[in-house]
Amino acid sequence: MNYQKIDMTSFQLHVIKTNRFKTVNIRVCLRDEIQKEEITLRNMLASFLTYATDTYPTKRELVLKAQDLYAVNVYTKSYRSGRFNMMNFCMSLLNERYTEKGMLEESIRLLADVIFHPNFQKEEEFEQAFHFLYESIESSMKAMKENPTTYSVIRMLEEMDSDMPYGYREFGYLEDLEKLTKENLMSYYQKILKNSLVDIYVIGNVEAKEIEKLFQKYFSFTTLKRPKVNQLIEHEKLPLRSKKIIEQEESNQSKLSIGCKIGKLTEFERNYVLTVYNMILGGNSESKFFQIIREKHSLAYYVYSSLNKLDSLMIIKAGISKENFEKTVRLVKKLMKDMIKGNFTEKDIEVVKENYLSLLKEIEDNENAIIETYLAKDLLNLGDIEERKKEIMRVTKEDIIEVAKKVKMDTIFLLEGVLQNENN
């Protein structure tokens, strides 16, 4: 594997050359500061750009074009990461060795078309796309409660602080959707192109020179202003005690979500110690949560913890019966306290480190995961794979105890399942 970073003035081009894959994967990654009232716009724009273009003004035409290019796949992935809004345009295509010459260029041209030539020109086609996407987004927003596991986490984060980026709804807001017009979609599109930090990642058996030439030819951003805020969210104050909120929802199971705030950490603590801490506590089926809450006490079908490192948050999720609520929370608190007391073994740490090394190796077979490692290097200053292998081994029991002291339970949210009139 050979990595090269090329400065293209308005964007950085990262080329990862490897002969491990029959495909070429491209990710165009736009980053800017997140604004609550723009989330809905962002979601609409992301769907809109991959729905049709000025050249292929209906979904059908765009799909036919992609099929002609040997089923090239174009899609967007938008999400929030700390204080940043991330908008990714992804493309995956077969290496020309398996198709025909010229397909790489044609595919990159199609990707450029998606990003730079939106379907704003033709009135009727615009209306159609806008209308359909509006309806789809509206119905998926309204259906948000149909996935109680996700909904419970969303509500928990809102209760924690709805004015902080982690409390924003990734789905967007109905009232913002209702305000959406062609004009504000267009101006938001212009803004995104001008204000974002742009990185483009290409991985596959490709020549950096050729990739550079093609992106030079088809891609030009006119970035004027780059985000100045710090992407990392840190909590000024840690909670002394947690708050508890219970909401009822018609369902069989109850969904428990617990948000914990994490105090100031060093880079090493955030990147490595915290990871080990979380894996021992609740990261997988070997963890304390799983083994004790699920296996030993049969209190939950699932119980895990995960990290939002850029939000300095740890989130615990469990599917439980409502009568087990208090008992489960008590156990969670006890197990967290046990970590502070150092009630875990060197063996636990060793297993987690093995796991971590194995996860790193897993990355080698996955193009998208490789791209993510380079992205994480930029965002978190997380080392490359070789560096990570070394750093994780440095984590000690004392380090973990120190980090454990800084994890404080903040918000306990229960989406309580209640069954009403069964007869209809």
């Binding site: 002969n19 491990r20 894959f21 029959k22 495909t23 209906t58 979904k59 059908r60 799909v63 036919l64 099929q67 002609d68 040997y70 089923a71 995956s92 077969l94 398996y98 198709t99 159609q128 209308h131 359909f132 309806e135 789809s136 509206e138 119905s139 998926s140 309204k142 259906a143 409660k145 149909e146 996935n147 109680p148 018609e250 369902s251 069989n252 199971q253 089926s285 070997e286 699920r294 049969s298 939950a300 079908y301 599917g319 439980i320 019966s321 297993v351 093995e354 796991n355 971590y356 090394l357 194995s358 996860l359 190796k361 897993e362 080698e364 077979d365 399942g417 009403q420 009139n421 209809n424």
Partner: protein, 425 residues
């Protein structure tokens, strides 16, 4: 070992059948860092009435037993559970049960020989006690309840129940809270002894490993050598009638958007090549209803749906097609689907385009060790054997065979289900 070439994909599969009847498929890659090994029995949730190993009379076991058994296999006499064993080397382990099979798998990049031996050992060593069986019921009941809350799950199940009268595909894989509470240790042993014999199982490994080494390990595994095998399995097979169970059914559920499902039941008794038949049906559905169809554009223009997708599934001797949509005008949508199905005409260039798409997808998939393995597993489960020449079969698509296959199909044998939002009390 027999070498099977996956034509057009630069990849070989090595096949061996052991004396005890276990089939072994090995897919070694040159350029990968990880491996995935799956040990499967061709036993899933649909087989509940059978003659147990060493007995003569048919018995019926409670619904959901295959899935229950899967959970209980992780219980070992020495107290070490396979998750923990695997995790020691950073290996991921899990299992799953579906209608036709149960699988246990390890995914990792270290200690290949130890992990392979362990996989064979733990699936070969059941350890059920009254106590550990009781303990599991609470966990599985929670799992069932979780699925009960998911509308998509409910939707799939109700559509199957409407289409099928007798076939066990109409029953939830995990059973019901009531049925699993009836399960006993004895039920589990009888089921295990019958269906977990090597002649009813297969092992498949894909990724970074040496096939010779893998085969040596498998041949020398003590648990496998001692396994009971070659008892002829007899399962009650009820003939599923052609008629659908219910033509139309409506439900209310805790949803905000109305959902509509339209299922079609196509008999396969007379079909010689089910794989090819299924492909041609897929070709038609893709051209007529896929992302690039004019039909879909029309639905959007007329505001007939906000989401629309299709699935196909072979259940016993029937091919089931399901159309699923979120739509505020469900009846109108179904009328449109019916009308579209009445005319199966397609153009040659549409077939040519899809050929290209399907071949490309096949090449993309071979890069992924897990997808390749899954693909071969579904060949074996659905069609009885690995299909190594898919690309050639795709290349052979032609209009004449298309019409020959499609013109005989009755697309009107169908069920409709509509799920409407609950009215506020």
């Amino acid at each position: 070992m027999k070498t099977i070439e996956l034509v057009g994909l630069d990849q070989n599969v090595y096949y061996e059948k052991l004396d005890n009847g276990l089939a072994v498929y090995l897919i070694p890659y040159q350029n990968k860092s990880n491996y995935t090994m799956h040990y499967l029995t061709k036993y899933g949730s649909i087989q509940t009435t059978f003659v147990p190993y060493g007995e003569k009379e048919m018995i019926t076991v409670p619904d959901g037993i295959a899935h229950f058994l899967e959970h209980k296999m992780f219980e070992q006499e020495d107290g070490v559970d396979p998750f923990t064993f695997a995790a020691k080397t950073g290996t991921y382990s899990n299992a799953s049960t579906n209608f036709e099979c149960t699988r246990y798998y390890f995914e990792g990049n270290q200690s290949f020989p130890e992990n392979l031996n362990y996989l064979l050992d733990f699936v070969g060593s059941p350890y059920f006690t009254d106590e550990n069986v009781e303990k599991e019921k609470g966990i599985i009941a929670e799992e069932i309840k979780q699925y009960d809350d998911e509308v998509d799950w409910f939707f799939d199940e109700e559509l199957k129940k409407a289409l099928l009268q007798k076939d066990h595909h109409r029953v939830d894989i995990a059973g019901t809270v009531e049925s699993i509470y009836q399960i006993t240790k004895e039920d589990l042993y009888r089921t295990y002894n019958t269906f977990y014999q090597p002649s009813n199982m297969f092992l498949i490994i894909s990724g970074d490993f040496q096939p010779e080494e893998a085969l040596r390990i498998i041949q020398n595994n003590e648990t496998l050598k001692k396994a009971k095998s070659n008892f002829k399995i007899q399962v009650l097979e009820e003939e599923e009638p052609l008629e659908v169970n219910e033509k139309k059914k409506e439900f209310q559920f805790n949803v905000v958007n109305t959902k509509v499902g339209y299922g079609i039941k196509i008999p396969l008794h007379q079909v010689k090549d089910r794989y090819l038949f299924n492909l041609y049906v897929g070709l038609m559905l893709n051209i007529k209803f896929g992302l690039a169809s004019t039909f879909r554009e029309m639905l959007k223009q007329e505001n007939l749906m906000t989401s629309f997708y299709l699935e196909r599934e072979i259940t016993g001797d029937y091919l089931l097609i399901s159309f699923k949509a979120d739509s505020e005008k469900p009846e109108e949508l179904i009328e449109k689907i019916k009308k579209e199905l009445a005319d199966i005409t397609v153009e040659e260039k549409e077939i040519e385009r899809l050929k290209k798409v399907w071949i490309s997808s096949e090449v993309m998939m071979i890069d992924n060790i897990s997808m390749t393995l899954d693909n071969i597993v579904s060949d074996i489960i659905e069609y009885g054997e690995l299909i190594p020449n898919k690309i050639e079969i795709f290349r052979s698509f032609n209009l004449k065979d298309y019409y020959k296959t499609l013109s005989k199909i009755d697309f009107t044998n169908s069920s409709t289900i509509i799920i409407r939002p609950k009215k506020e009390a």
